[in-house]
């Protein structure tokens, strides 16, 4: 069965293109959230294999969401941003995410690399 993905990002255009990219790479996008709290709720409910989590969310940062969803086992959190990963330093590791992908470099293989 294909790995499940939830996309959490407030930009619709990115969500659309990310969905297209992921589905073309064999993922199943089972949900989309536009902000951190609804994203968290979705995560707990759907328990996807992967969460594509934008760092800049309207209500909370992606890091916070990651920390919150640390109680959700089996979900790999992949952080994305239009900014450079170097901007975030060790926040990425410390929040419990699996990794970070710049949005411009988003490919299905890149995501899959983080899925166990």
């Amino acid at each position: 069965m294909p790995p499940t993905v939830v996309i959490v990002d407030d930009h619709p255009s990115f969500r659309a293109s990310a969905r297209a990219m992921l589905e073309a790479s064999g993922f199943e996008v089972i949900g989309e959230a536009t902000d951190g709290s609804s994203g968290l709720e979705l995560l707990r409910r759907l328990r996807p294999d992967v969460v594509l989590l934008d760092v800049q969310l309207p209500d909370m940062s992606g890091f916070d969401v990651c920390v919150e969803c640390g109680d959700v086992d089996g979900t790999s959190v992949v952080l994305v941003s239009s900014r450079d990963g170097a901007d975030f330093g060790d926040l990425i590791e410390r929040c419990g995410a699996r990794g970070f992908i710049p949005k411009a470099d988003l490919t299905g293989e890149a995501v899959a690399a983080f899925v166990p």
Binding site: H11, S13, F14, A16, S17, A18, A20, M21, A24, Q56, S82, R83, K103, A104, L106, T107
Partner: protein
Amino acid sequence: MRSSVALAGAGSGIVFALALVVVGTSDTADSPVAITVAVLAGVSWIVAGLIALMRYPEYRTGWLMIAAGDLWAISALQLSSVPLLFTLGVALGQVALGPWIQLTMGFPEGRLRNRVDRALVMTTYVALIAVPTFEALFDPEPLPSCDGCPDTLAIADRPTAVSAVAVLGGLLAAALAAIYIVRLVRRYQAASPPLRRILGPVYVATVGALLAIIAMNTASLVWESSRQIAAIVTVVLFGAVPVAFLVGLLRIHLARGSVAGFLGTMREGGSLRDALADTLGDPSLAIVYPLESRWVDEEGRDAERIVSAEDTILTPVVADGEIVAGLVHDVSLAYDSTRLEAVADAAALALRAQGLQAEARGQFAFLLTLVETAPSLFIHVGADGVIRNQNAAAVEAAGYSDEEHVRGRHFWDVFIDPSERDEVIARFRALAPTFEQGEYENAFTNARGEERVIFWRSAPVLTESGEVAGIISGGIDITARRHHELELERERDVQSTVFESMPSIMVVLAPDGTIRDRDADDPSIGANRAFREAVSWPDEEIVGRPFLDLVVEDADGRARGAIAAAARGEASETVESELRSADGTSRIFAWSAIPVADVTGRMERLVLVSGIDVTERRRQELEDRRRREFMEAVTGTIPSFLLVLRPDGTVREFGANKAFETTFGWSDAEIAGRRFVGAITPASDLAASMVIAKAAEGVIQDEIESRWETRTGESRIVAWSARPVMDTHGEHMVLVSGMDVTTRRLQEEEIRASRSRIVAAADEARRRLERDLHDGAQQRLVSLSVMLSLAESRLQAGSDGVGELLTGARSELSLALEELRELARGIHPAVLTDRGLGPALQALAARTPIPVSLEFPDEKLPSDVEAAAYFVAAEALTNVVKYAHASEAAVEIALNGESVSVSVRDDGIGGADPGKGSGLRGLSDRLSSLDGRLAVQSAPGGGTCVRAEIPYGQATRN
């Protein structure tokens, strides 16, 4: 006189004859013996009285005696048988005692001397008449032992009354008798021996008789039997008394010699005084002579003592109507004045001669005293130059104590030095024979070796014939004066040296204020060296010139007044004047003028001006004063605060300047004495305390900023420092100087706040930019990148749907470009830079959803002004769109002279608060950086008007 004697004798004869008749016809006559004795007693009185009357007619003595005798005769009427006569006889029986007593008390003249005597005698007479009369009138038989006596013409028979009166009478008689005795005794004791000789017999007889009579009468009252004997003895005694009177009277006479005897003594030679004394019988006699208004003795000496001796009388001796002498003799001589006068007359001529002599002697004695006691020298020199006489002063001046060394010697040997002797002898000889008056002075060494200087004046003494009998020279010893003059001379020399050399200026002026010439006698007067050097005038130019000429300016007349005061004789006050020097400069002197005496005596008074040069001092003072005034002006006007504190940190009196007082509201009196830390800075300000303490120790402090409180409690921020200073009295103080930086700080605060706001605004804008880029264009480009990579992978995989992906990518790209453009416009619209404010506003209006009317000037404004105007409009319109709910808006840009106004109006709901909304705040900051202002009028419901004023000057126009 003889006639009165004859008359008295005749009268008495008749009385006695009548008495004898009575006796003869009397029935009650006693024994013949008694009668005879009685008659003899009466006759004795009469005869004695007649003799006294003949001898001393001027006395009353004679008449009184006769009266006594006659009255005695009347008492014989007691023997009459006729009641009337009998009564009379009884009544007047004792009255004869009256004259007897009167005689005694008034002996020898028979005149009573004083009131007491007169009163006593009067009382006696009254008693002698009254008592027997009473008896006669109230006792029919007053003589109980008389058998054949008739009764009196008594009025009544009152035996008891009569007895009483008799007793009273007896007592009165006793009293009177006692008084009389006492007085007589006293008088006797006070009398001089000659007088006693006269009075003695009379007094003794009277007193004795009285005592005896009284005793016997008293006894007979007790023993009836003795009455007869008593009566007889009484009569006998009564009859003996006149003899005593005569004896006394004769003694007056006997004591005197006769005039003839006197003249005889005179002719024999011997002193006049002795002759007079012998003749008058008064060994104490003295003769005095009149000299001017006093009496002198024959030597011309004052005789006041002689004249005023006790119990003496001075009887003047008159010759040719002039008093030539006075006889000072015993009082008793005065009773024999006739004799006295006769003797005096005989002696008058001789007395006159003696008087003249006495006068001459007296005058001579006076002159002698004068000459002897005068301090001047007197010498009497003969025509031969020999000293005939001299006074004590001359002897002393010659250096001797004994006149023997002077008298008899030539005066040139005594009073002239050997070296001058010949000259003096020659001169003396030359003055002969007239020896006219002259004066000369000579110095010599006397016998004691003392130097003397004598000033002589001599004059000749002429005889009656005009020849020179001698020369009298009077001399004044002027040795002391000469020495004094020498001393004065020396003193003057000292004074002139002092005068000349002292550092003070001295000028001597005549009373008219002109500078005195150097005197030939006293070359030091005029002006001293100090003065000449100070004003450097040569002598020729100052002598005789008025001192005031040298005074530069005497507007208030003080210099003139000072000189005038000294000319009047008063010391003047100290005056300051500027005196001009010859070289054109001037110096200031503090001087005063005092009156001084002219030692040469030519002028009554001179004026001495003395003073010191105070030029430097004055200049210094002026400088100091100017400096002080300058400092005061500075401290008074500078805006900085100046405080002078004492080392203990309290404000000194007059220690705050005007700026401090004005700003902090303390008057000088209120702040003086208060502590700086506590009253001005808060007490808790340790930094301020430290600064003050360190400055008090002497360390200049750096500036610090503190809060200073005004009197009303407001705070001001002051940048101040403190330093140690010394005040004008030389005491250590602390000077605090500060600037009020409150406004500056606030402004700095404001500027800093504004700047930080601007910076914050810029940061904020950049953040927004970043976010906008991130959220907007960046996202789109990211999506675009994903779509293209998808398309790439799909193309590689040969899948379809690439065309849709590419289309989508292109639309995504357009949107991104649009967003970027929008963003750029937000930063700085290109149209503003390229085409100016107008077109930029138009583009702005076009983008605004509601209709916006525009008005703007044609001129090109500076780019920062245009940018500010554009952003004001842009921000305001954004707010209108967001909040105002307006239907339309208006933008108006206008030029008002020196500024540009930007107004944005809308018709919305208003109620905009310029404080809220960072947009307007940011605008405010931007505008303030251009010195512009922003105003927002936004009444609720009334629309909003945002108006900005941006100043711009000519210089910034381009």
